[in-house]
C-alpha cells in the first residue's frame, strides 16, 4: 500500500467517521432535535415581567364551598419580586358575609326566638342563677343559630411566593399573551366576628339576652348550693370571634395583558382555628374549653378564590440576555 493510498484511506476514514458519528444532540420525547442548548435557558431575550418590580393588585375574593357563611370582599395585594422567581408580599381583604344555601335551608325549619324564650323561662323559672328543672329545647332558634355563626370582616396574609413556571399562550390563534404560575406560603391572619348578646338580668332568651348562660359547662356555686351547668350549647357564647393567625397557602396565575398589567387569578387557603357554627362540636353539650375533649374550635381551611388586576411598577420591563 503506497503512502498516497494510505493518505486517501485515512481521509475517507475521517469523512466516514464524521458522517457516522453520533451527533452531539438527541431527540426529545416529541422527536424534536435538541443540542447542547437544551441545557441552556429555555427562553432568551425574555421579558422579565416580574423581576425587581413592585406588584400592586386590587382584588376581589370569595370563599369556595363555605359551610354557613360565604365571605365576599375586596382588598389589595402588595408584592415585591426579589427576582424572577422569588417574591414577598402581603394581602389584605375586607369582607362581608352572606348566608349559604345550607343556612337558608336550615333557617325556616327552626323555631322563632320568642317561642324559644318562653321555653327557657318555663324550664328555668329561677333564671340564669337557678337550676333548670324543665326540659330545654334541643334545637336552636333562628336567632340563636344565626347569632352563633361568625363572619370574617378582615383577613389577610404575609407570604413568600415562588414562580417556577412562566410561558406564553395563544388564544384563538390571535391573542398571544404571557403568563406565569406561582405558589405562595406564609402566615394567615384573620379577624373573626360573632355577636350573641348577653344582658345580665334580662329575661332568658330575650332579644338582648340570647346567649344567656353565664357559666357554660360548669356548675355555679350559690352559697353552699351548687347549681348544675345548663347543658344547652344554644345559649352559650359562641367563642368564635377575635384575632386568628395560622397557615396561608396559595397558588395562582398571572395573565399579562401588556408589560405592566396582568390578570391575577388565585386560589388561597387561610387555615386557622375556627368554629364557623359557633355551636358544640366536641359533643360535651356546651361551648367552651374542655379539659378532656378540648376546645370546639379546630384548625380548618378557609378556601378562597380571588381575581384581581396586577399593576407592575415600574411599567417598563427588562429582558434576559
Amino acid at each position: 500500500m503506497t503512502m498516497r493510498t494510505s493518505q486517501i484511506l485515512a481521509g475517507l476514514a475521517g469523512m466516514l467517521a464524521l458522517a457516522t458519528a453520533t451527533p452531539a444532540h438527541a431527540d426529545d420525547f416529541l422527536g424534536n432535535r435538541t443540542n447542547g442548548l437544551s441545557k441552556d435557558y429555555a427562553v432568551r431575550h425574555r421579558k422579565l415581567l416580574v423581576a425587581h418590580r413592585l406588584e400592586f393588585t386590587p382584588l376581589f375574593e370569595t370563599t369556595v364551598n363555605a359551610a354557613y357563611q360565604s365571605i365576599i370582599g375586596g382588598g389589595a395585594k402588595l408584592e415585591y419580586h426579589i427576582s424572577d422567581r422569588l417574591s414577598i408580599g402581603v394581602i389584605g381583604v375586607g369582607s362581608t358575609a352572606l348566608n349559604t344555601a345550607l343556612t337558608n335551608r336550615i333557617l325556616p325549619t327552626l323555631a322563632s326566638q320568642s317561642s324559644q324564650a318562653a321555653a327557657y323561662q318555663s324550664a328555668c323559672p329561677s333564671g340564669v342563677n337557678g337550676p333548670c328543672t324543665g326540659v330545654l329545647p334541643r334545637a336552636p332558634s333562628q336567632t340563636e343559630f344565626l347569632d352563633h355563626l361568625n363572619t370574617m370582616p378582615i383577613h389577610g396574609a404575609a407570604y413568600l411566593s415562588l414562580t417556577p413556571w412562566y410561558g406564553k399562550l395563544a388564544a384563538f390563534s390571535s391573542a398571544f399573551v404571557a403568563f406565569d404560575f406561582y405558589f405562595q406560603a406564609g402566615v394567615a391572619l384573620a379577624q373573626l366576628d360573632s355577636n350573641c348578646p348577653q344582658t345580665p338580668g334580662a329575661a332568658l332568651g330575650a332579644a338582648n339576652n340570647v346567649c344567656w348562660d353565664t357559666h357554660p359547662g360548669t356548675a355555679l356555686m350559690s352559697g353552699a348550693n351548687s347549681i348544675p351547668a345548663v347543658l344547652d350549647p344554644n345559649v352559650d357564647q359562641p367563642l368564635n370571634s377575635g384575632f386568628r393567625a395560622g397557615l396561608y397557602l396559595g397558588g395562582g396565575v398571572h395573565v399579562f395583558l401588556n408589560d405592566f398589567l396582568a390578570l391575577d387569578l388565585t386560589v388561597r387557603d387561610y387555615a386557622f382555628e375556627d368554629n364557623p357554627s359557633g355551636a358544640d362540636v366536641n359533643a360535651d353539650l356546651f361551648v367552651g374549653p374542655n379539659k378532656v375533649l378540648g376546645d370546639d374550635n379546630r384548625f380548618i381551611s378557609h378556601l378562597f378564590f380571588g381575581a384581581g388586576l396586577s399593576i407592575m411598577l415600574p411599567t417598563t420591563v427588562q429582558r434576559t440576555p
Partner: protein
C-alpha cells in the same frame, strides 16, 4: 516517522471537507423532498404554501426543478419573481408587474380579467409560527380519570371513569364519557344533625354518561425553572348525557328511590403534553340537572314506600361541579406532519 503526520493532516482535511459538504446538524433530520415545481424550485402555484425555510441552498437546487431555481438565482444575484421578495416592500419584480400590466391593458395574461389585488410575497407576509409539538387530528384519546365534587358542603362524591374522544380536527373533538360515583359525608353533615337537630336531605350519585364536544381555543408553553419547556392547551367542553341519583333516606327505616337525570354539562380544562402518546388532563366540569329529593314529611303513614315518596318528591336544580384529573393515552401513539418544518 514522517508518514504519520501526513496521514493525520490528510485525515483532518478530509474531516474539514466533510464538514463543509455535510448539511448542518440542526438540519440533518430527514426531510420530505419537495415536489417538483415547489416554491423552492419554480414557485408553482400548487405548492406555493410550502416554503421550506430550513432547506439548504444546495439541496433546494437538487430537489427543486432545474431551471430558475432559488439557489441559482441567489447565486446570480437576480431575483425570481415567483420567489420571496427578500427586499420586503420594494415592489414586485418584472414578470409579475408585466403580468399585471397586461391585465390592466386588457391584453389578457395569466391573470383573469377584473380587479386584481397586487399582493407580491414578501417577508412581511410570512407569519413565523413554530410547529405545534403535538397533533391531535384524527387521533383517539383514551382518558381514564378520577373526580371529586367541589361545591357540596354536605356530601362529597368521588368518581372514577373515563372519556373516549375522537379528534375531528386539531381543535375539535367528539367523545363519550362515563363515570361511576362513590361518596362520603362531610363533617357538616354530622354537625348540622347534632347542632341544629336537622338531618340534611341528600342524594347520592350512582353513575353518569354523556356525549361531549371539546374545543381547544388556547394553547401555549411554559418553562419550568427556566429550563424545561412544557406545552399545554386549554379546552372547553360541552355535552349532554344522563345519570342516576339515589335518595339517601334520613331514616334508614324507609326505602330510598332512584332518579334518572338528564345532565347537560359544560367545562373547562387543561392538557399538558408529556409525550407523543401521553398527556395529563385536568379540568372542572359542571353537570347541571333537575334532581328529586326525599320529601320532608315522611312517616309510617305518609310517603312510607319508595313510590309514594318519589311521587311527592321535591325537585331542585342542581349544579354538580367536579374537578377531574387523569392521564390520557393517544392512539395512534405517534403522528407525522404533512407539511414541512
Amino acid at each position: 516517522m514522517r508518514k504519520l503526520p501526513h496521514t493525520i493532516l490528510v485525515a483532518m482535511l478530509g474531516v474539514m471537507a466533510a464538514a463543509l459538504i455535510a448539511p448542518p446538524l440542526s438540519h440533518a433530520a430527514p426531510k420530505k423532498t419537495p415536489a417538483k415545481g415547489s416554491a423552492a424550485g419554480k414557485g408553482s402555484s400548487s405548492d406555493s404554501g410550502d416554503i421550506d425555510f430550513d432547506q439548504p441552498a444546495g439541496s433546494a437546487a437538487a430537489s427543486g426543478s432545474t431551471s430558475g431555481n432559488a439557489a441559482g438565482n441567489a447565486g446570480n444575484g437576480a431575483a425570481n419573481p415567483a420567489d420571496i421578495d427578500m427586499d420586503s416592500d420594494q415592489g414586485s419584480s418584472s414578470d409579475l408587474a408585466a403580468d399585471l400590466a397586461a391585465v390592466d391593458n386588457g391584453s389578457g395574461g395569466p391573470v383573469k380579467a377584473g380587479e386584481v389585488k397586487k399582493t407580491p410575497v414578501s417577508w412581511q407576509d410570512i407569519v413565523v409560527v413554530i410547529r405545534k409539538p403535538f397533533l391531535k387530528l384524527h387521533r383517539v384519546e383514551l382518558f381514564p380519570m378520577v373526580g371529586v365534587t367541589m361545591n357540596d358542603n354536605i356530601i362529597r362524591h368521588y368518581s372514577e371513569g373515563g372519556e373516549l374522544n375522537y379528534w375531528l380536527t386539531d381543535v375539535l373533538a367528539i367523545g363519550v364519557e362515563g363515570q361511576y360515583y362513590e361518596h362520603d359525608f362531610e363533617s357538616t353533615y354530622d354537625l348540622v344533625a347534632r347542632q341544629a337537630r336537622r338531618l340534611p336531605t341528600v342524594n347520592q350519585y350512582n353513575w353518569s354518561a354523556a356525549l361531549d364536544f371539546h374545543y381547544v381555543p388556547v394553547y401555549g408553553k411554559f418553562a419550568v425553572f427556566d429550563h424545561k419547556l412544557i406545552t399545554w392547551e386549554a379546552f372547553f367542553t360541552a355535552g349532554i348525557g344522563a345519570g342516576q341519583s339515589q335518595v339517601v333516606p334520613r331514616d334508614p327505616e324507609f326505602p330510598g328511590f332512584t332518579n334518572l337525570l338528564i345532565q347537560p354539562n359544560i367545562g373547562v380544562g387543561m392538557r399538558f403534553f408529556l409525550a407523543k402518546w401521553l398527556t395529563i388532563n385536568l379540568g372542572v366540569r359542571d353537570y347541571a340537572f333537575e334532581d328529586k329529593f326525599e320529601p320532608t314529611d315522611r312517616s309510617t303513614t305518609m310517603n312510607a314506600t319508595a313510590s309514594q315518596a318519589q311521587a311527592n318528591a321535591t325537585g331542585e336544580f342542581i349544579n354538580n361541579i367536579m374537578f377531574q384529573i387523569g392521564i390520557a393515552f393517544w392512539i395512534p401513539g405517534s403522528f407525522e406532519y404533512t407539511t414541512f418544518r
